[in-house]
Symmetry: C3
Subunit: 272 residues, 3 copies
Amino acid sequence: MVRFVVNAPPLITLTTDFGLKDAYVGVMKGVVLAIEPRARVIDLSHEIEPHGVAEGAFLLRTAFRYFPPDAIHVAVVDPGVGTSRKAVAIETAHGIFIGPDNGLFTHVLADQNAVSGDDEALRGVSGVELINPQYRLEGVSNTFHGRDVFAPAAAHYARGVQLGEFGPPIKRVALLPNSIPISRGTDLVGMILHLDRFGNAISNLRAHDLPATPVFEIAGTEIEGLSASYQDSRLNVLIGSSGFVEVAVQNGSAAGTLGLSTGDTILVRDRT
Amino acid sequence: MVRFVVNAPPLITLTTDFGLKDAYVGVMKGVVLAIEPRARVIDLSHEIEPHGVAEGAFLLRTAFRYFPPDAIHVAVVDPGVGTSRKAVAIETAHGIFIGPDNGLFTHVLADQNAVSGDDEALRGVSGVELINPQYRLEGVSNTFHGRDVFAPAAAHYARGVQLGEFGPPIKRVALLPNSIPISRGTDLVGMILHLDRFGNAISNLRAHDLPATPVFEIAGTEIEGLSASYQDSRLNVLIGSSGFVEVAVQNGSAAGTLGLSTGDTILVRDRT
Amino acid sequence: MVRFVVNAPPLITLTTDFGLKDAYVGVMKGVVLAIEPRARVIDLSHEIEPHGVAEGAFLLRTAFRYFPPDAIHVAVVDPGVGTSRKAVAIETAHGIFIGPDNGLFTHVLADQNAVSGDDEALRGVSGVELINPQYRLEGVSNTFHGRDVFAPAAAHYARGVQLGEFGPPIKRVALLPNSIPISRGTDLVGMILHLDRFGNAISNLRAHDLPATPVFEIAGTEIEGLSASYQDSRLNVLIGSSGFVEVAVQNGSAAGTLGLSTGDTILVRDRT
């Protein structure tokens, strides 16, 4: 999607629910740069709702294609830290994804056809479990794998350590349920996955999912057809910048005006 | 104001109302670094009030002189995205400014005498409209020009593309009205442009605008003379770190104590 | 704690109470990079509670060991800016610390045995007062030493200026009172220093402070023994990722559930 320059410094993105009040994110960057000082570390978001695995998964999906194909994406939304959930790295044609195995990578894998529907088998991509102590910090905590496991893995990978060195291969990954729209008779049922800062409500429906002359029903309100911009009318349904159907209110908040929450349903039928 | 080292990596600043919850800012950085991996990208603020063009314009003014003169400043507070408003780049003696043509650059241009009062004609600086598709992402959206137009323009400029390559010259820019203090008889009328995190209220009045022995009237309260620090008295009017008259409460919030909002008036008269 | 690569670009961290709404932090980075373009600047936190010196001091303590020993840590939580409080730099075996002399460096110095208890004398480390105008911006303001004094000091130090060049040596530093746990009879009295984003309450007690079979009393609630992870039981006391005793509620907020605030007491006794 964008041009890629060979031999650029390694690029690492971070997506977490750590917030920016604590030093957790800064410490992860310290760990990365102590291991690989050439790395460039870019924040995607640290304001994922605490334990909001689905929100983090969606955000990764909207972002990863704008980075070079060899970018290293670290995501840590990890309510199960310290339990038996796996720590994993999955190498795809468009980025390597490092984080807990809890569904965070559902959308980026689905988008690359590396998983299919609710089948957790990996297809055409390589994954490993991160267990080699050589590429973790000493004395791994039970509470902060972002610092002790995932940041070091990203930095060592950036230095050229091969995927197979980090641990044994995995064949399956955890997936989020209901991550794709479903059909109900002739209607299509999508779901609000994300409310952005402007109150725009972004769904899991894509342009190619829609019928020719769509009518949307959201929170009891019916909206006909797609708008071309946020200024087209007071209430707009449009294809947002990430390629997903989005509900927006002109110079206002769709979430506030319509009382929308993540998980709410968008019903689509064909007017004809 | 600060020393500049030649042949440093290109420096790009970002100012938006995108917030840090979504990945919009991270995606802009991905686009920049995919095109120009040597670029250093610095955040000025992403917490401009949504659609707060005046606030963004003020913030740019307080910041741009602390960056090297060849820094590239991208600002995206852009309620008109997807409409007919222009996308522009304006090259000045102290930075190039890239963003929507909606008044965001009023203060940085006024400060450099590149515009005068409410006259929108550009003076002694070069501007272009960003229309060359070669320097935009393919398939420009109607909703996210930060990613599709402005970030690519900044990165290509950083790589050495000349201003004239981006599109046709512009002779005029949009300006914010009432951006400079006005005289009313012997009094001077300024305006609160910004409330900072500490509740300090920053105005558009500068030291050289003031009479010899100023008396300030703010929200019905009269304050005589200028303080030298935030600890001088309970209620202080002082010249803040950006060179503007600022109202502050000792160890407290002026905005809260006096009930101030942006747009409020500060009246200045001479005591003598 | 982590490996360090020689001849890496200089690493500068920033910790402030400036927030991210204003451009204060971005401007500090502009000043740094105008002086030393090779520097890498990492944010630890800018969301320290306004004037929260104790919170900033704690945060630095949890972070500094994850950075290379030659990292430059700039901290600006500075209610006394513009008064007679000193601006200082203290060079330790694990980082140089630059900021106001108001107790911000209490924990990082105590942790390295560079101060002892409430004795303010520096031991085995070198400190200076930052007064050499050559390494400040011209026209230092009374309100923003982060930009005018501390950022330039960090950048010049990163370029190789020796500590002694910045000003005269200091022999003492300001310390925060009550920063270490105290004994009361056979009990130990600790204090909540920090509530993190998840509502976990982090104290000044460390693992080696505890008796063999500890019983904790927090806000009238008694909790026996240490948990190994956040998922062990509903109410957990555990050794957090920074090595401090931490109170946590499974999939919830300890601060909210127990009504905890910073400054609250944790009483520890031995069950036997």
